[in-house]
């Protein structure tokens, strides 16, 4: 039986070392070359001279183990992130059909993240404010146009790929901060209580309590169009969560980089699609699984 194999990753943050390990692991476990889907935050610090070099290197490495790379920029990427590579396709506000004999899959995407999900915009050049009606409307229109184009091709499955989760699904966390790429930042933050006001902007303090960080626009779209699969990242602490609502299966695939949280990082999703069904499993980029527990903790935590 023919099947389409996908490896889905998110929130790489220019971590080339983990990409090397991912390539090494998946090359051993996959029978044929899979299609890679990256749901955003490929690099970090877009203004640094390393940004372009790092993202290019990530794609070069991934292209060796895959037949295609479908990606979109996250909030930490350039909105205009374009990878000139024949096997790479940017899904941001675009659509695409992949086909392998029996099974045909339509994909559409939306990059960036809602402004309310971030505590600071300093390291996030690609944000959109969906509380502005015209912004939300435009995003929704793009998604609608793309899904209708896909529908014409009559695919077996439709996959929605976004960086942000939909509102209310695997999206509960404190607003994200990339300033403090601290190994244990989540726990530290919880114990700090109220965060001190930012010295630069004392007038308006961004909220720091736990809340839904997902996008209402994306949620509205999913509720109406009900794609078969929705892949997203962005909310690190909810990474690895899966949920099924009606006809849609949701996967928060955050995060591949060991930062910001070592404990929940190194994650990727394997997704297999046949004409009959969809199977999925999460795994971690861990090369030394057979070492004892003590050594494992020392090495990875």
């Amino acid at each position: 039986m023919r099947k389409l194999e996908f490896i889905v990753v998110s929130d790489i943050y220019s971590d080339i070392a983990t990409i090397h390990e991912l390539v090494s692991i998946t090359s051993q476990t996959t029978v044929c070359k899979p299609i890679i889907i990256i749901t955003g935050d490929i690099g970090i610090k877009t203004t640094s001279p390393h940004y372009k070099r790092d993202t290019r290197q990530i794609f070069d490495l991934l292209s060796k183990m895959s037949k295609q790379i479908l990606y979109l920029p996250g909030d930490s990427d350039n909105k205009q992130l374009e990878i000139t590579m024949p096997t790479a396709k940017n899904l941001d506000q675009q659509n695409y059909i992949v086909e392998d004999g029996d099974v045909k899959v339509g994909l559409l995407g939306l990059g960036g993240a809602p402004t309310h999900s971030m505590r600071s915009a300093d390291l996030s050049p690609y944000l959109w404010d969906e509380s502005t009606p015209i912004v939300a409307e435009n995003l929704l229109t793009e998604l609608k146009i793309n899904i209708e184009k896909i529908a014409q091709a009559q695919p077996d499955y439709i996959i929605l790929v976004t960086h942000s989760p939909p509102y209310g699904v695997a999206d509960r966390s404190k607003p994200i901060t990339l300033h403090e790429m601290h190994v244990l930042e989540d726990i530290l933050e919880e114990l700090k209580g109220e965060t001190k006001p930012e010295p630069k902007e004392p007038a308006k303090r961004a909220p720091t309590s736990v809340r839904h960080l997902g996008s209402r626009t994306i949620n509205n779209f999913v509720q109406y169009y009900k794609p078969d699969v929705h892949l997203f990242g962005h909310v690190h602490k909810e990474g690895g969560k899966t949920e099924t609502q009606g006809a849609t299966r949701f996967f928060n695939v955050s995060h591949l980089s060991p930062l910001p949280y070592r404990l929940t990082g190194r994650k990727f999703l394997q997704l297999n699609m046949t004409k009959e069904n969809i199977t999925s499993s999460f795994d971690h980029v861990i090369t030394e699984r057979n070492i004892n527990f003590n050594d494992f903790i020392e090495k990875y935590l």
């Binding site: 244990l184 726990i187 530290l188 690895g240 994650k267 795994d283 971690h284 070492i291 004892n292 935590l301």
Partner: protein
Amino acid sequence: MDVCGLREGFSLREYQKPIVGETLKEFEEESKQNVFISLPQGTGKTVIALAALSKLVNDSKVTKVLVLIPRRVLVNQWVDKAQEMFYGLGLIKNPPLSKESIEKIRGWLKHSGAIGIAMTMQSFKSIIKKEYFTEKDFDMVIVDEAADLVVSRDFIEGFRMSKYLKGLEKWRIPKLFILPYHVREKKIIALIKKFGNNSALIRKMITETQLMCTVRDPITIEDPLINIFIEKLEDDYKKTKTNVHRILTKHGIEGYRENIETLLNPETLDRLKKAYGLDEETCQQIQVLITKYILVQHIQKWFLYSGRSELSRSILSAQKDVNKWLSYEDKKLNKLVEEVKTRLAQGQKIYIFSQYVATAELLTNRLTEKLALKPRDITIITGADEADAQFEKLSSFKKVGRILVTTPVFDKGTDIPQADVIIVYTPPFSTEKLLQVVGRIRGGEVVFLAYKGYEEETTNQIADILRKTFASAQG
């Protein structure tokens, strides 16, 4: 004729009468301004306060009382209890406090026959700030669960007054404070100090056998793998703690040993910087160590208390032994199902305690599924419920429920119906808190579940402390 008193069919317990007398004596004969009553859980502290209030109202010494309680749900319980047991003790509960409504409330107080207002401590903070009410509006204040008046021990400032009750110490009208017996003596002394010399403390350990719990030996679960994980994590935990202690000793810092987590508070660190000249690097070092210490604790708890979904999402699930452990059914959870099943068959009413909301939800779902329970059989009440919902659920459990699963939302002051057994699935962080929890069932058995090995040892220690406490109470 008395304007208020106990309703027909209700009476004070024998040990309650002298305490009411003593309280009144302190106010009336000794002219004390503040009386603190410290009694064990389940001894009816609220009833004692109501009986004392009733007498003062009848003697025309009190016409308007302000009752302050930590949470909204407890305010409802308090007022309902007053009305259920006493006639003439009507209280306005949680009135809407706004500039517009305040005159209306004054009107109600004057004409409705209510003898006062019951509100949360948070509301008190707000009315004081906005000056809606002053001490002139009342002639007595009752503070239930008054241990919250001082929140924590701060090495530099000593015990701090709760921000919710700041200003109350300046009120000169009589104040009655009710607090559990197991609050540490140091804390009670600090509390009394805040209110000045004209204070009295009535602190008694009631020895009624019906309040004593039987602490069973922990039910053990065989699982050799768990000990491998816990021993390593415990080792890391101890090492990290020692390292923090070393830094504190090096800089001559005496406090914070018991609760090193408080050092993560930026305000505390700022104070230390000023008082001990700590540099930025040392502060960061302390923070990194403590965050590691907390992380290790978190992971330990996931292993011990069925946090499998969190572990499955973490990198630990890739380690061969953890992976194997996750592949088989949760043995502790299965043991709980077995225990509950046996006790339900004996017609027992069961109270299950978990420190965490997620665990409480997990236990409820598993028990419902495995024992085919109907929704009315099992009630879960956690901090995730709105205050009113907590109260409604508790009332429904009182009537028809068989199992009550809760988190520390009910550790203070809540009038939980008597149960035959309390199964402690995840113990609270301190013995004081555990005593508050087990005290709520007023008698019955206390049962712990523990993995054989390390957890069994620590659980045995906790069980021994409980046994000794109950034994000392019985003399």
